[in-house]
C-alpha cells in the first residue's frame, strides 16, 4: 500500500472534480461526499502506515515513479517517496482534514457557495497530500502552487466582501514572490545535478557535486519559497489577512498544513541546508519571526488575528529548531502544533458561530458559561500552546529549547522570551474571551453552544493535543510500531533519541508559569485599565506594535508608489516614446516626406524640363564618379 500512497491524493482529487462538476445538484450540495472522502483518506492513511511500518526501516523510503517526459537528454520522472517525514505529514493532514471537513458541515451551514467550499477543500487536501508525497522538487512545486491556489480560493470565499478579495490577492501574490525563489532554486538544483529528485539531490550534495557559493545561493532561493509559504519575516503579512477566509479553512490551511509546507521543505532538505551552511540564516529568520509576531499578537483584538500571529510565531519556532539542525524537533513541533492550533482555530470558529459572527475580544468575555465544551477544549488547546506539562506543546517546545541550547546562550535567551510571550498572549486570549464578565450583553444573550458536528471535532483534537506529545517517547513509539519514538523515526539521518532533561522541563515550566499567570493576571476579568497601560505609557510604541511594525504600510507604499509608479512610467514610455514617436512618428515622417516632395511637382513645363536637364547632368556626374 505504501508505494500506492498516491491514492491518498487521488481520492480527494477525484472528489474535487466530481463536486465541482455536479456540486450544487448533489443532495445536501455534496457535503457528505466531502466527509466521506476525508474519512476514506483518513482510513487509507492507516493502511499506508501499517504497510510502511511492516516494511521496516530497510525498505524506507518507499519509492514509486514513472517517466513523465523526455526531450533529448532532459528526462523527467514523476513519482512518490514515502518516508517517515511523509508519514508524519500524512498523519497531520488526514487527521486535521477529517476534523475540519466535519466541523465545516456545521460551520458553513447556510453560507453561500456551500458546495464550492467543500469542493475546493478537497482540492486543497489533494494538493497538500501531493506536496508531501512528491519524490521530486518539480512535483512538489506543482503541489505547492496548487495549495496556494486553493488557499487563494478559500480565503476569497466571501468574495462579495472587498476585504476578503484583497486578502486573497495579498496571500497569493506574497507567497508567489517566494515561489519565484523556490522555482529558481529548483531549477538551479537541476542545473547543477541534472535531476529534480529530492533523494538524488541530497545524495549529490553530500558527494559535494555543487560548489559552495552556488549551493548557498540555491538554498537561499529555496528558503525564499519556504519563507513565503510559512509566513516568515518579511513575508508574514499575508497570513493574518488570510483570516478573512472561513474559520475552518484557517484551521486546516493557515494553521495545520499549508503554512507548514515551508517547514516541511526545509526539514526535507535539511542535509542540503547544512551542507550549504545556510542553517544560521534559517535560525535567525525563525527567531526574528517568533519574537516579532509574539509581540504583535499582544496588540491584536480579533481572536483569529491573535491566533494567526501565534501561528506565525510558532512557525518561527519550527524554523528555529530546523536552523539549529534538529529536524526532528521542528517536525515534532509541526506535528503537535497542527493539533492544538487546529483546535484553537476550530474553537474560535465555534465561538464565531455561537455568538453569531463576533470575533472581537472586546465584545466577548465570559463565554465559558454559555459554551462549556468550546471553552474547555479551547483551554486545553491554549495550555498546549502555552506549554503546560505534559500536554503536546510542552514536549515539542521542550525539544526546541533543547535544540537551541547548543546554539549559545543568546539565542536560548531569546527563544525563552518568545516562549514566555506565547504563554502570555495565549492567556490573554483565553481570559478575555472565555472568562470574566461578558462585555456585550446583547451578544451574550444570543450566545449558544454549538452542535455536536462542531464540538466533536473539538473534543477529538483536544484529545490529540493532550496525547500527541507522547509520541516522543520510545515506549510510546514502540507501541505504535516505531521504536525510538518520534525523533528517531522521523529523521533516520540524525538519530536523536529523546531523553527527558528535567532541568529543561523545569525551566520550560517556569516559562509557562511566568507567561500564563502574567497574562492571566494582567487581563483577568476584563481589567482593561491594565491592558491599556502600554497604550498610555508609551503610545508610540503601542501604535507601532498595533500597526504590526508598519510592515503592511511599507509594502503598500512600495506597491503603490514604486511598483505601480514604475508601471505608469513604462506605460507612458510605451505610448509616448515607442508608439507615438517611434511607430506613428516614422509613419508621419514618411507622409511628410511625400508632402515636401510633391511641391517639386509644380505643374509647369519649364520646371519639368529643368528636372530632366538636371537629371542628365546628375546622372553623368554619378557615372563619372562611380565608373572611374
Amino acid at each position: 500500500m505504501a508505494e500506492h500512497a498516491w491514492i491518498l491524493a487521488a481520492v480527494p482529487g477525484i472528489a474535487f472534480i466530481v463536486m465541482a462538476a455536479l456540486g450544487r445538484n448533489l443532495p445536501r450540495q455534496g457535503d457528505w461526499l466531502a466527509v466521506l472522502c476525508a474519512t476514506s483518506i483518513f482510513g487509507l492513511f492507516f493502511a499506508v502506515l501499517a504497510n510502511f511500518l511492516n516494511l521496516g526501516g530497510g525498505a524506507w523510503p518507499v519509492l514509486n515513479s514513472i517517466e513523465w517526459t523526455a526531450i533529448g537528454d532532459f528526462k523527467l520522472n514523476m513519482g512518490i517517496a514515502v518516508d517517515p517525514i511523509t508519514i508524519v505529514m500524512l498523519a497531520v493532514i488526514t487527521t486535521v482534514a477529517l476534523m475540519v471537513n466535519i466541523f465545516s458541515v456545521g460551520y458553513m451551514k447556510g453560507e453561500p457557495r456551500y458546495w464550492w467550499y467543500f469542493a475546493v477543500l478537497q482540492l486543497f487536501v489533494a494538493s497538500m497530500l501531493m506536496l508531501v508525497l512528491a519524490d521530486n522538487l518539480l512535483l512538489l512545486y506543482v503541489a505547492w502552487e496548487l495549495v496556494g491556489l486553493s488557499s487563494f480560493l478559500l480565503i476569497g470565499h466571501y468574495w462579495e466582501r472587498r476585504s476578503a478579495v484583497e486578502a486573497a490577492k495579498k496571500a497569493f501574490i506574497t507567497t508567489r514572490v517566494g515561489d519565484v525563489g523556490l522555482l529558481i532554486g529548483i531549477i538551479l538544483f537541476w542545473e547543477a545535478t541534472g535531476t529534480f529528485n529530492i533523494l538524488d539531490i541530497i545524495h549529490y550534495v553530500e558527494e559535494g557535486a555543487i560548489g559552495d557559493t552556488r549551493l548557498f545561493v540555491t538554498m537561499m532561493f529555496i528558503l525564499l519559497g519556504a519563507m513565503g509559504k510559512s509566513a516568515q519575516l518579511p513575508f508574514h503579512v499575508w497570513l493574518p489577512d488570510a483570516m478573512e477566509g472561513p474559520t475552518p479553512v484557517s484551521a486546516l490551511i493557515h494553521a495545520a498544513t499549508m503554512v507548514v509546507a515551508g517547514v516541511y521543505l526545509v526539514a526535507r532538505l535539511l542535509p542540503v541546508f547544512e551542507a550549504a551552511g545556510a542553517l544560521d540564516v534559517v535560525l535567525v529568520i525563525g527567531l526574528l519571526t517568533a519574537l516579532f509576531s509574539g509581540v504583535v499578537a499582544f496588540a491584536q483584538t480579533d481572536i483569529k488575528k491573535v491566533l494567526a500571529y501565534s501561528t506565525v510565531s510558532q512557525l518561527g519556532f519550527m524554523f528555529v529548531a530546523l536552523g539549529a539542525g534538529y529536524a526532528s524537533a521542528g517536525m515534532f513541533h509541526l506535528f503537535t502544533h497542527a493539533f492544538f492550533k487546529a483546535l484553537l482555530f476550530l474553537g474560535a470558529g465555534s465561538v464565531i458561530i455561537g455568538t453569531h459572527h463576533h470575533q472581537e475580544m472586546g465584545q466577548l468575555g465570559g463565554l465559558w458559561r454559555k459554551m462549556p465544551i468550546t471553552a474547555g477544549t479551547f483551554l486545553i488547546g491554549s495550555l498546549a500552546l502555552a506549554g503546560l506539562f505534559p500536554l503536546a506543546g510542552f514536549w515539542s517546545k521542550d525539544e526546541i529549547l533543547h535544540a537551541v541550547e547548543g546554539q549559545g546562550t543568546f539565542f536560548f535567551f531569546l527563544i525563552s522570551i518568545a516562549a514566555i510571550m506565547t504563554a502570555f498572549y495565549t492567556a490573554r486570549l483565553f481570559v478575555r474571551t472565555f472568562l470574566g464578565k461578558p462585555q456585550d450583553e446583547e451578544i451574550a444573550s444570543h450566545t449558544r453552544e454549538t452542535g455536536p458536528v462542531m464540538t466533536l471535532p473539538l473534543v477529538f483534537l483536544a484529545f490529540m493535543s493532550i496525547v500527541a506529545g507522547f509520541f516522543i517517547f520510545h515506549d510510546f513509539g514502540s507501541a505504535f510500531g516505531f521504536p525510538g519514538g518520534f525523533s528517531e523515526f522521523v529523521f533516520l539521518h540524525y538519530p536523536h533519541a529523546f531523553h527527558v532533561d528535567w532541568g529543561l522541563v523545569g525551566l520550560s515550566t517556569a516559562l509557562f508559569v511566568i507567561g500564563t499567570f502574567g497574562g492571566a493576571w494582567f487581563y483577568w476579568n476584563g481589567r482593561l485599565d491594565r491592558s491599556t497601560v502600554m497604550a498610555e505609557w508609551q503610545p508610540k510604541v503601542y501604535e507601532m506594535v498595533q500597526r504590526k511594525f508598519y510592515f503592511d504600510d511599507l509594502y503598500q507604499f512600495l506597491i503603490d508608489r514604486v511598483v505601480l509608479g514604475f508601471s505608469y512610467l513604462v506605460s507612458w514610455f510605451d505610448r509616448f516614446a515607442v508608439n507615438d514617436t517611434g511607430v506613428d512618428g516614422s509613419a508621419t515622417m514618411t507622409g511628410y516626406a511625400g508632402f515636401l516632395l510633391k511641391h517639386l511637382q509644380t505643374g509647369r513645363v519649364p520646371n519639368y524640363a529643368m528636372a530632366i536637364a538636371a537629371g542628365v547632368v546628375a546622372l553623368t556626374l554619378i557615372s563619372l564618379a562611380v565608373g572611374s
Binding site: G72, E166, I173, S571, V583
Partner: protein, 499 residues
C-alpha cells in the same frame, strides 16, 4: 502512407480557401447559411488538425506527411524543384496545427453572433486561416512567404470593418507594421536564395545549404536580423510590439482570438523555420540580442499591464510579455528551452484566445472595457468568471495548466544557458500574478455594481468554445508527454541546439 497523409495537409489547406470561395457566391442575406457552413468547415478543420497532431509519430522522422507538387521549375533562375508546393509537418508545426484547429473552430463559433456583413467576415476569416495553415505546412520558402502574407493581409479589413475603438487606426497600424516586418523576411529570402545559389526555394534544401556552409557564416550573420526582426514584429518582439495593444483593442472578438492565438505564433515559428534552420550560425551569433529583447518584452509587457484599465490592453501587453517568453525560449538554443518556446506558443495561443473570447462576451453586453466600471461580476456571470480565472491562472503559470508546462521548459532552458535572464523571466511570471489578480479583484469580485445586474452569462456557443480551449489548456498542463514527445525529435534536430 506518408504521401497519403500529405493529402490531409492539402485538404486542411484547401478547405478554408474553398470555403471562402463558396461563401463568395452565397448571398449576403443568407447569414445563417454562412454560419452553419463555417461551423461545419471549422469542425472539419478541427478534426483534421487533431488528426495531424495525433498522426505525427513521436519517434519517427522529423518531417512527416510530406507531399511535393512541382509548381515552378526549370525556368528563369529556378532549377529543379525551384518552387514547389512542398508540404509537411515537424513536431512544432504539428503542435501549432492543433492550435490552429482549436482556435479557428472556437473563433468560428464566436463569430456566430456577428450580424453586420457576416458572410464577408467569414470569407476573410477563412482566407486568414488558410494562410495560417499554409505557413505551418509550407516547406518551400516561396509558399511560406505566400501564406505568411496571406494570413496578415485580411486583418486590415477584418479589423477595419468589424472592429471597435479607433478601428481604422488600429487596423492600419497593425497591417502596416506586420507587412513592414515581412519586408525584412522578404529581403532575407532574396539574400538566402541568392547566397545558396541553388535556384530553389525548397526549405529542406536551403536548410542543408545553411548548415553545410553554402551560406557563409559572415553572410548568415548579416541575413539573420532581417528574418528575426521581420518575424519578430508579428511575434511581438519588443520594441516592435505596439501594434499588439492597439490592434487587439480594435479587433473584433474572433479576430483577436485568431490573431493573438495563432497569428502571433507565425512570427516565432518563422524565426525557427527561417532563422534557426536556414541560418544556424547567424542564429547563434544573434541569439543573445534576441534574448535581451525577449526578456525586456517579458518584463515590460508584464509591468505595463499592471496599470492598464482596459481589458484588452491588459491582454495585449500580457501577450507581449508571453511572446517574450517564446523568444527567450528560442534564444536559449537549448533543447528544453526551444521545446518550451513551442509549448508556450500553444499555451499562449489557447489561453489568449480564451481571454479574448471572454472579453468579447462581456464587451458585447456592457459596451465598456474599463476595469473600474465593473465589480462583482461573478454574481451574474459565474461561468464567465470561472473561465476567465482559469485563463488567468494559465497566464500566471499555475501548474496543472498549460502555461506552467511551457514556462517551466523555458526557464529550465534559460537557466542552462543564461541563468540571469532565466531569473528575470520567472520574475515576470510573478508580476503576471499581480496584474491578473488585480483584475480579478476589481472586476469579478467585490460587491456587484447594480449597473451590471442584467449581464448574461456565456451563451451555449461561447461555452462550447471556452470549454474546448480550457480542455486544451488542461491537456497540456496535466499530461505533458503527448506534447513533449512530439517535439523532442524535432527540437534536437534543429541545428545549433544544444542539450
Amino acid at each position: 502512407m506518408d504521401t497519403a497523409q500529405g493529402y490531409v495537409l492539402v485538404t486542411a489547406l484547401a478547405l478554408p480557401l474553398l470555403a471562402a470561395g463558396v461563401l463568395l457566391f452565397v448571398p449576403g442575406s443568407q447569414k445563417m447559411m454562412a454560419r452553419y457552413f463555417s461551423a461545419v468547415i471549422g469542425a472539419i478543420l478541427l478534426g483534421l488538425s487533431v488528426y495531424v497532431f495525433l498522426a505525427y509519430q513521436a519517434g519517427g522522422d522529423v518531417l512527416q506527411m510530406q507531399l511535393r507538387w512541382a509548381w515552378i521549375e526549370n525556368v528563369g533562375f529556378l532549377g529543379e524543384n525551384g518552387i514547389s508546393l512542398h508540404l509537411g509537418v515537424d513536431g512544432i508545426s504539428a503542435l501549432l496545427t492543433l492550435l490552429t484547429g482549436v482556435v479557428a473552430f472556437a473563433g468560428t463559433l464566436i463569430a456566430w453572433k456577428l450580424e453586420y456583413r457576416a458572410k464577408d467576415f467569414f470569407i476573410l476569416f477563412w482566407i486568414l486561416i488558410a494562410g495560417v495553415y499554409g505557413t505551418f505546412f509550407a516547406l518551400d520558402l516561396f509558399f511560406f512567404f505566400f501564406f505568411y502574407e496571406l494570413a496578415v493581409v485580411p486583418l486590415y479589413m477584418l479589423i477595419g470593418i468589424w472592429g471597435s475603438t479607433r478601428k481604422e487606426y488600429g487596423a492600419m497600424k497593425l497591417t502596416l507594421m506586420l507587412v513592414g516586418g515581412s519586408v525584412g523576411i522578404w529581403i532575407g529570402i532574396f539574400a538566402v536564395v541568392h547566397e545558396a545559389g541553388l535556384g530553389t526555394f525548397d526549405l529542406p534544401t536551403l536548410w542543408e545549404a545553411g548548415q553545410n556552409g553554402l551560406i557563409s557564416a559572415e553572410t548568415q550573420k548579416i541575413i539573420f536580423p532581417f528574418f528575426a526582426v521581420g518575424c519578430g514584429v508579428l511575434a511581438g518582439l519588443w520594441p516592435l510590439h505596439t501594434w499588439s495593444p492597439d490592434g487587439h483593442m480594435s479587433a473584433p472578438t474572433s479576430v483577436s482570438m485568431v490573431h493573438a492565438g495563432v497569428l502571433m505564433k507565425l512570427g516565432a515559428f518563422g524565426i525557427i523555420r527561417l532563422g534557426i534552420q536556414i541560418l544556424p550560425e547567424g542564429a547563434e551569433f544573434w541569439m543573445p540580442a534576441l534574448l535581451v529583447l525577449g526578456t525586456i518584452g517579458a518584463l515590460y509587457g508584464a509591468i505595463a499591464a499592471l496599470t492598464q484599465r482596459d481589458f484588452k490592453l491588459i491582454s495585449g501587453y500580457s501577450s507581449v510579455s508571453h511572446m517574450g517568453y517564446v523568444l527567450i525560449g528560442l534564444a536559449t538554443l537549448h533543447e528544453v528551452g526551444v521545446s518550451g518556446a513551442a509549448l508556450q506558443m500553444f499555451s499562449h495561443g489557447v489561453m489568449t484566445a480564451l481571454v479574448f473570447l471572454l472579453i468579447g462576451a462581456l464587451y458585447d453586453q456592457a459596451h465598456t472595457r474599463d476595469l473600474s466600471d465593473f465589480g462583482g461580476v461573478a454574481k451574474v456571470m459565474p461561468l464567465w468568471v470561472i473561465a476567465y480565472v482559469v485563463a488567468g491562472l494559465a497566464n500566471v503559470g499555475l501548474p496543472g495548466l498549460s502555461g506552467f508546462t511551457a514556462e517551466f521548459h523555458i526557464f529550465v532552458g534559460a537557466f542552462r544557458t543564461y541563468p540571469v535572464f532565466g531569473g528575470l523571466a520567472i520574475l515576470a511570471a510573478a508580476i503576471a500574478a499581480a496584474y491578473m489578480l488585480r483584475m480579478f479583484g476589481v472586476v469579478f469580485f467585490g460587491p456587484l455594481n447594480p449597473r451590471w445586474k442584467d449581464l448574461k452569462d456565456l451563451s451555449p456557443l461561447e461555452t462550447i468554445s471556452a470549454a474546448l480551449l480550457i480542455l486544451s489548456m488542461l491537456a497540456m498542463g496535466l499530461w505533458w508527454s503527448p506534447f513533449t514527445d512530439r517535439l523532442a525529435n524535432t527540437v534536437t534536430s534543429l541545428p545549433g541546439v544544444i542539450s
